[in-house]
Amino acid sequence: MSRTLSNFAAFIGALCVYFIIHLFFSTHVRTVRNDVIQGFLIGYGLAFAFAQAYARIKAVKVNGWITMFGLGKPGNGMFLRAAHAQLYAGPVNIPEEAMCWWTNADGAGRTLSGRHDYVMHFQAAHLPPNDAFWSLTMGTARNHFVPNPIKRYSVSDRSGLLPNADGSIDIYIQNAAPSGHESNWLPAPTGDFKLWLRVYVPGKAILNGTYKVPPVVKAKIP
């Protein structure tokens, strides 16, 4: 969920609360019609604000990566289902089938942009544990694919990433090809972008929350 939307929801919520408090001290003549119309509008505003707030509470943010656990499971309560609808407006997988994180900020909270070069560093044996596959996919700020000369739109366990000498893996996320590291390049656009990390049939460490997705880090200028 975006910050703007959250702020907007907070604003709506505050407006609704202000209105309710105001009602108690209002000396205006009340009619049944007003009660119903205002009740509906205020109720709607509160529902929106509440769902956004609850989504923020339920969302898990680690190293800038946002996800929510337990989505899509039958038996989920109405509040969690509403929160789900705020974060992913669609039928997403249950956690056992796939988990998905996204971020538009680096580990320090700054918006990801193609003006900078980034590295995502997976320590040896710390690629996302899974029984199917994982992938890291690039999207523009509006969530479209990014045209690039090597026609690579994501990196994954299928893209032949080269490990470092110590077995760790660096993924170079930048607009221009990283010389000497082309095999581990995930091309970024020139503007802002978003990243999606998907892990299908995630391992236990992911499901119980102990696996931490490493942050996207601004590359040090050599």
Binding site: V32, V36, G39, G43, A47, P74, A85, E97, A132, M138
Partner: protein, 535 residues
Amino acid sequence: MTLEHLLLFGGVCITTWLAFIYLWPRFILRVFKRAILVKGFGDGPIPVNTLYTEPRAFFADPIHPPASASKRATAGVNRDTLLTVGWLNLRKAPQILQVPDMAGRYYSVQFTNPSSNTNFAYVGKRTTGTQAGDYLITGPHWKGSVPKGMKLISSPNNSVLVLGRILVCGDGDLPTAYNLAKQIKLFAHRPMAARPVASTPQPAINSPSRSRMNHRFHALLKFSKRNVLCAFVCGALAPISAGSQSSADAVVSQKPIIYIEDVGRFYKVYDAAQGHPTAEELQRGYIDPGSPGLRHLSEIRDVTGETIAKAIAAHPQIFADAKRCIAVLPRVRLRVAAALRILGRLYPTAEFPPVTVAISRGKPAGVADAQGVVIGLEASCAVTYFNPNVEDRFVHEIAHEYTHVQQALQSPAFYNNPKPTVLQASLIEGAAEFVATLITGETAFHSPYAPTDSAQDEQVETKFVASEDKTDLSQWIDNGTLTTPGDLGYWVGYRIVKSYYEHSADKRRALSNIIIMKDAKTFLAISGWYPGIRL
């Protein structure tokens, strides 16, 4: 503020609040429902109870989606899996999900309850493994027994969103993955019907001779009993393209006339005479007051009171038997009307001369020319060796012949060529089979003369290529015998046409080019077809 007002305001406020929270997932899934059933993803709306797989070209090059791809299709970034989606309605009948052997490949098919946006079941590598299987998906009120060999998925809701994901292991793997994705299929479950025996061709009898303009009803098409009967073809419900046709055409296309009344009149005369009507009774009671289609048949094929009376005397059982085929006519009329409306939408220049189902003189089973299609019910009914389901057979036959009507009207030089090559004749018939399959909503063309696997396809089609320029059709068209199924030209022609259609980005233009084919060689060259191609 009085207490009454406070209570009313508070009550409405809290109710609205909770209601919106509760209904939120439902609203979101409603958007998906609309996207699937009304808008589609670029190839027209996706009929209920069918699956749509994202185009291969789109996955291969997501930066340049086909011009037809909708905004929704290009939203989101996913380079891992091919997506296949569908919306189920289980109210009438359960659906069967068929998955192929994925040979260890990761895939999942997710079943989402649209009321709560929660997934009540999965088929896939994690839950069911990657071997082939059939899954019966039933609605909440379904009662019955699960057919042997099927696994049950019981849905809490009659509406279900189905979302399949098939892993693609890289660009080189895309054709394989796509082929597997396309093999995930839905069928309506009809417990009374026997399960189809996988493509064992049934023997064809020596067929009556047939000239180009006088088609023996090619009856002859076996339908899978599991095909999705009421499904409309992708794109079928798309709005008629604006400006491309006059409103008069639109009106015509709304109302293809289908006469079935001649049949009832015939049997009135027939029954009144206890099955032995005289020539005069037939002429007066049946032919003279007949529909334009019957009178046309009468003129061109010598169907008169006299010839019919002779035929009844010679083959009484054919006319007695044909009564069993009458019952399906109202349904056939509805389904043909629907199919022809779809033809009109997909192919706005289609013309709509009437379809007539009447009683002939034992033959012909049907004629198709610029005047329309006339079916001889008794002759068509007698041809039972391919598809015992009379209704399905008739619908397909009429749709097939109606395609010939379009060809006759709009590409007469090609269609009426008196000495066609094997390729030309096969493409004419293949086009009719393909268009019939497309507009009747059959999930696939199940030919009784089709080879049983792709290796055989390759063998047959290599032979086809060798003889495609010959004008001796005897190895390819109308050559079925009691023991060997013939008519392979229909099958190969169908596959060439299908390949052409599937390789075309603009499906409507493709359909138009299929119907008004001008040059067989060029068509073949751009169809992308080759012997043994997997379609």
